[in-house]
Amino acid sequence: MAGIKVFGHAASISTRRVLLTLHEKNLDFELVHVDLKDGEHKKEPFLSRHPFGKVPAFEDGDLKLFESRAITQYIAHRYEGQGTNLLQPDSKNLAHYAIMAIGMQVEAHQFDPVASKLAWEHVFKLIYGLTTDQAVVAEEEAKLAKVLDVYEARLKEFKYLAGNTFTLTDLHHVPAIQYLLETPTKKLFTERPRVNEWVAEITKRPASKKILQ
């Protein structure tokens, strides 16, 4: 069937963000593997799908998209009635939507740049035979600690980041967190009680487990 295709790599944080959303929504899709080691993402035909040469790219029938957070938002809206609701419970309330949007911007601009650098240092570098730079780790962990302090305060007021239900805002964090839990950086999450609880909740979801396979 024409349906939904994801062009990416099953281990990539950004690809997993999209796969996670599809699993939450119980949507059928095909994962078309892109060979990163071979530089497939920097060449045609992949560049026609993502001119910036990054995974993932996405297709739903004749709609072609890239940028994982644009894709997840499309899926959440287009398939609103299906599977897990990833928007606010009152999806037409613009003020509540804006609160969720803040959290998505915070994840993209405050959390992810730091978390991705740590995942690169602790995990992906080793796959490429490079060594972890402990000075970078220390610097990035200091930044992450500040972000998680804000999250700790936020999660004392609400069960999840955008309110009392699981939304895209929480989901966007899952893939990077899953990697960091396998590294020494894990302590930054476990030593903050509410953050620790939140991490446990979002990583135990069946969809979150599916992307680890």
Partner: protein
């Protein structure tokens, strides 16, 4: 650039304010309320309480992003300056508006928001019937394309371009020197992004569709700064990009934002 000051500041003295006064304290000594309306008025600004308040400064790119959206929508607002030099953005009462300690923050009635791109999206949605439309007309699929290019600005363009603006402009303001090697490396990355924009703008009048949207607007503050530097050649040498820059910077709403810097 959400914070203008880099380098170390002395830790600010603690300010004790009762929580209830945090959001509505026009008499606080660090704040002065200036009402900016979009109608020209011969009398000096009056102190009134508009329902929309922006906490920020006209020099900040993130603040400018929000102001541009408000002017495009013909919305009345108050700009409440934040004393960056005194570190007001890192202390109460500001951090109750944005716990990350960055400008701008926006209040609309009893709703408080931060992150400029979440704020502009809220303005575009909440006031969709007012002023300019800032989203592509259409269904989920068209909205999705807009989101793609919104993410491109946030994830591909801004991280590079705002570092160049920092090197070329903001460093000089704070007595630091531009690092030419850094500028060269960053410009090497920016040209790859602008080549993609050139291809895109050959197929679409604006980035997301054939109308001006937030995806274009979000670029204005950093492009405005870069066009005042040698980096402007990167934009001018690409015909479609050059045309697009000219169009978006010529918008009357943008001229109003630039005017605020002169006051």
């Amino acid at each position: 650039m959400r914070t203008i000051l880099q380098g170390s500041l002395l830790p600010p003295p603690p300010i004790k304010l009762s929580h209830s006064s945090l959001l509505f304290s026009p008499s606080h000594s660090h704040y002065s309320n200036l009402k900016f309306t979009t109608k020209s008025s011969p009398s000096p600004p009056t102190i009134t309480m508009a329902s929309i308040k922006v906490h920020g400064v006209p020099m900040s790119t993130a603040t400018m992003r929000v102001l541009a959206a408000l002017y495009e929508k013909d919305l009345d607002f108050e700009l409440i300056p934040v004393d960056m030099r005194a570190g007001a953005h890192k202390q109460e009462p500001f951090v109750s508006l944005n716990p990350f300690g960055q400008i701008p923050a926006l209040q609309d009635g009893d709703l408080t928001l931060f992150e400029s791109r979440a704020i502009t999206e809220y303005i575009a949605d909440e006031y969709s019937e007012k002023g300019e439309k800032l989203m592509c007309p259409g269904c989920n699929k068209v909205k999705a394309i807009t989101k793609v290019w919104l993410n491109v600005e946030g994830q591909q363009f801004d991280p590079i371009a705002s570092k160049i603006a920092f090197e070329r402009i903001f460093k000089g303001m704070f007595g630091m020197t531009t690092d030419p090697a850094a500028v060269q490396e960053l410009e090497g990355k920016l040209v790859r992004v602008l080549d993609i924009y050139e291809a895109r703008l050959s197929k679409s009048e604006f980035l997301a569709c054939d109308c001006f949207t937030l995806a274009d607007l979000h670029h204005l503050p950093v492009i405005h700064y870069l066009m005042g530097t040698d980096s402007k050649t990167l934009f001018e040498s690409r015909p479609k990009v050059a045309e697009w820059v000219k169009k978006i910077t010529a918008r009357p709403a943008w001229a109003k934002v630039v005017d605020l810097q002169k006051q």
